[in-house]
Symmetry: C2
Subunit: 195 residues, 2 copies
Amino acid sequence: MAPTTRQRKRGHDPESVLSVAVGVFNERGYDGTSMEDLARALGVTKSAIYYHVPGKEQLLARALDRALDGLFEMVADERASAGPAIERLEWVVRQSVRILVERLPYVTLLLRVRGNSRTEELALERRREFDRFIAHLVKEAAADGQIRPDLDPALVTRLLFGTVNSLTEWYQPSRGSADDLADAILLMTFDGLRV
Amino acid sequence: MAPTTRQRKRGHDPESVLSVAVGVFNERGYDGTSMEDLARALGVTKSAIYYHVPGKEQLLARALDRALDGLFEMVADERASAGPAIERLEWVVRQSVRILVERLPYVTLLLRVRGNSRTEELALERRREFDRFIAHLVKEAAADGQIRPDLDPALVTRLLFGTVNSLTEWYQPSRGSADDLADAILLMTFDGLRV
DNA sequence: GTGTTTACCGAACATTCGGTCAGTTGACAA
DNA sequence: TTGTCAACTGACCGAATGTTCGGTAAACAC
């Protein structure tokens, strides 16, 4: 046997670095994560990271774009703009859950952004634009008389998407499909828990 | 004359430092906040902070205790343990909203803790204990046949308190009282949005 | 075998971090 | 007037931060 270690030069690329980095960001928080932490998680030294990506903030920017692009692709779909408002809202909630589950680490990171840097501010602004779209949709459904009139549409928007977004706090792929989750959320929020 | 209270110079005390610090922590995140940031917000130099409090992590610990103490005082109340489970659950949700509103900055900070230090781990463990109490309560209500049987009680627990906790993301005192908020949340989650 | 490219290491960089400490200030007591 | 003391300041420390850079072993191209 050759004593020389014949370890395969697996090697990273920008994609694998991003995916590992986002995982660590979500465990320790972006500001709580050092490049040393990332290096350890990747099994390389700090400097190796800079061979693949320009720096820490770029990692954040790419991750946030991945989440936001998913959300904006959805609201660009015809099904978000045509038909009865209540059905569009239901569809958008369902799709939001789907995106949240599909891109869980990226969306999780997005929902924790506080605006500490230019990168974060830009992401926050895009997110607010998405939120405005949803708020408008709820308002339409309320105007159509499709949701209970004794609740302020703006409040409903916040609570509804508070519920959806809280998935990032506990969801694991083993805990059910996106469709089952969306069913449960729509059942609770639209029809109520009480028997 | 023996004055029992000594006239103090204008300045800060541990309480005012804590309250300003928690505000900055919530704006920029705990790890994203430097002692220099705190000093600027307090209008003093960095070293003045150490005259009033032992350090950054102690500020976090005190803030987290303030949130957790409120939650545990509530579950220690008789009304959380006696009577029909569904009514206890309703009461606990209502009180949770109240505490969240009363101690908003402290609870906000608590809900963002990731376990990066011993202090954060201890807070996380106490929080999990609170969550276990709620989960048990929902399970009891489900066993009593008081909430719809087609939803997993563990899932309901997460969604219900995901909704409640999402208040920290947007609530401002000008946006209504804790009671009004609790009404809206209970209306949506227990009776449903749809007309 | 030689040259080039890929993927990395180790050492260093300037800066910022949380924290310490000797000294200063000014209100008050005596 | 003098002394005390709460409430600071400013200079500083070692460690950690994100980033740069010169070098290099291994894989590949010819």
